[in-house]
């Protein structure tokens, strides 16, 4: 038992070591990774390190431009923007992570089942994915939010429910090619059980594309959340997210442009970091890219 676990680790680390070496050479991807780690850390520690309280108002001060006391200025209620962006980031990142996890779970299960079972089941399952692909996502999310009320848990579910399709396709394609590979056939001929083959050969080999696509799903999920919140259909006050802060910023951008610029900048930088990391991971984990 111990020996087999050790072997899995060994096999895994060599693949990941390869990728890590390639990833480290990609400066943009590493920058993205560092930015994301910092953002994650700040979000985790927000309640302790935020310079002001979340609800703390200063109506006498009102909206003030960036200053020594308020680095990113204050909004029309005199609330510290840095604090609000930090708390908003917690919500935005949480939505990004949880909705992506929902999409990941549905997509991987669906794709793996479809690819592994094959035949008629596969045809029906993929036909359904094709049908859903043809539907206008945005409209359906708006519809779901209208019908079931603007609830944050529904938001996770609604976004996850439309983002799993590509994941399912990727996983299915991967599983189908793997099933026909010589090393899987060799494993069968050695008499390994199906479950062992799935665990030892199929899952580790699909992990790469899944991780890459997950990194690229998070920004699109965060964008969707911001988009909905901007329209007033996503996160509701008193909770806050970057999308909501941007939509408030737009209302007063003529007089107080910093209320738009700072949340916008934060969102853009985060999306940048995620996309660069995703691209870097794709290059690092895809053996084909080493050619060019």
């Amino acid at each position: 038992m111990d020996a087999s676990i050790e072997k899995i680790d060994e096999a895994g680390s060599s693949l990941w070591q390869d990728a890590w070496v390639k990833l480290r050479k990609n400066r943009l991807a590493i920058c993205g990774l560092v930015v994301l780690l910092l953002l994650g850390l700040v979000s985790l520690l927000t309640p302790w390190i935020a310079p002001y309280g979340y609800e703390e108002q200063n109506l006498i001060l009102g909206a003030s431009p960036p200053s020594a006391e308020h680095w990113l200025g204050t909004d029309i209620f005199g609330r510290d923007m840095l604090t609000r962006i930090m708390y908003g980031g917690r919500v935005s990142l949480t939505v990004g992570l949880i909705a992506t996890a929902v999409a990941l779970m549905i997509g991987v299960l669906w794709g793996a089942t479809s690819g592994f079972v094959g035949g008629r089941v596969d045809a029906v399952m993929m036909r359904l994915v094709d049908i859903l692909y043809a539907l206008p996502f945005m409209i359906f999310i708006v519809l779901l939010m209208v019908v079931f009320g603007r609830n944050i848990f529904l938001l996770f579910f609604a976004i996850g429910a439309v983002e799993w399709l590509t994941m399912a396709r990727i996983v299915r394609g991967q599983v189908m090619t793997l099933r026909k590979q010589e090393f899987v056939e060799a494993a069968y001929s050695l008499g390994l059980s199906q479950w062992t083959i799935i665990r030892r050969h199929i899952i580790p080999n699909t992990l790469g594309p899944v991780i890459v696509y997950t990194t690229l799903t998070i920004p699109s999920v965060m964008l969707l959340e911001a988009f909905l919140s901007f329209l007033g259909l996503g996160i509701q006050p008193p909770q806050s997210s970057w999308g909501l802060l941007i939509s408030y910023g737009v209302e007063t951008m003529e007089e107080f442009p910093w209320l738009l610029i700072f949340p916008g900048l934060t969102l853009s930088i985060t999306l940048f970091a995620l996309n660069f990391l995703g691209d870097g991971l794709r290059d690092a984990l895809d053996p084909r890219t080493s050619k060019d």
Binding site: A134, M138, V142, L233, L260, G264, L271, F276
Partner: protein, 311 residues
């Protein structure tokens, strides 16, 4: 080709039926009737209203009735704008949205494709990195941020263009088209770069080079057709995205288009309007996907044979 189109069209029918059913059931499962947001109405008035909109019938009867109406192209009356039908509302919003989407697509195609081709001509040099970094910015800059920023800079500070409106003042269509088109320009740039890179490494391009053709002739006569296939295939999904994007852009620039009506209907709980617009959008998107698939097949002889073989 013709058979392929017919098969795909027939396949689209059940998809649209599914859309209608899901939307109908979702809207009817929503808590609170369409009139519950109004001030308390006397029960007899409520009853008359419900009878007028067939809400007193059992659900399946309503569903069948609605389906029949939709097949005849009638989306019924609007709940919130008495005396106006959903058809009228869609017809009044569609021209602005279609025009906006057209301009945005033009912006996206012209800027995106030329940037992508330009970058692919000298991969991994400054000529590649600069447009591709710009494309990354375009992807990471959501329309609801880009639009207000453009307004702030070009509308309010420089006063070059009007800050909102549609067709009221000269130049008021520029910012909305750029706002909506930029994200797609970025995607198209990346797609066309990838497509061109692949084509430019093909043997027939090397042959053309060996013949001594000029680089510009090779690009325009030999590489473009194949290199832009991924872009054509992306146009269908891009159109679906444009519809969603128009919600935001029309809201920011106060354009009286379909997207803005849809968001308003969502806030007003105007159920028939939501139903009608959703079905309308879905059908439109399915049709556009079909068209872009067919153009892609027409451009690519390999796929053309496959398409015939399949059916």
């Amino acid at each position: 080709m013709f058979r392929f189109a017919i098969t795909r069209l027939l396949q689209a029918v059940p998809v649209i039926l599914v859309v209608i059913s899901i939307t109908f059931l979702l809207v009817h499962a929503a808590p609170g009737g369409p009139f519950s947001a109004d001030k308390a109405v006397p029960p007899e008035v409520l009853k008359a209203l419900e009878a007028q909109y067939n809400l007193d019938q059992p659900l399946w009867q309503q569903y069948m009735g609605y389906l029949g109406d939709v097949v005849r192209g009638d989306f019924g009356p609007s709940f919130k704008y008495p005396g106006r039908s959903v058809n009228e509302l869609i017809a009044s919003g569609l021209p602005a949205t279609a025009e906006l989407a057209f301009y945005a697509m033009l912006v996206a195609l012209i800027i995106g494709a030329s940037a992508g081709v330009f970058a692919a001509m000298r991969p991994n040099t400054m000529q590649d990195y600069l447009p591709m970094s710009a494309a990354m910015i375009g992807i990471c800059m959501p329309s609801f941020l880009l639009g207000p920023l453009l307004v702030l800079i070009f509308g309010i500070h420089l006063e070059w263009v009007p800050v909102s409106g549609w067709g009221d003042a000269p130049g008021d269509k520029i910012l909305p088209a750029i706002t909506l088109g930029t994200g797609y320009a970025a995607y198209i740039a990346r797609l066309s770069r990838g497509g061109m890179l692949e084509i430019l490494s093909q043997d027939y391009i090397r042959t053309a080079r060996a013949k001594g053709l000029s680089e510009s002739l090779i690009i325009t006569k030999h590489a473009l057709r194949g290199g832009l296939i991924p872009v054509i295939a992306f146009l269908g999904p891009a159109f679906a995205g444009l519809v969603g994007g128009s919600f935001v852009v029309e809201t920011i620039f106060q354009i009286p288009g379909l997207g803005r009506f849809y968001v308003q209907a969502a806030f007003n709980r105007d159920y028939t309007m939501i139903l009608g617009t959703t079905i309308f959008f879905a059908t439109l998107i399915i049709v556009f996907n079909l068209i872009s698939d067919m153009i892609a097949i027409w451009l690519n002889p390999k796929l053309r044979q496959q398409g015939q073989g399949d059916n």
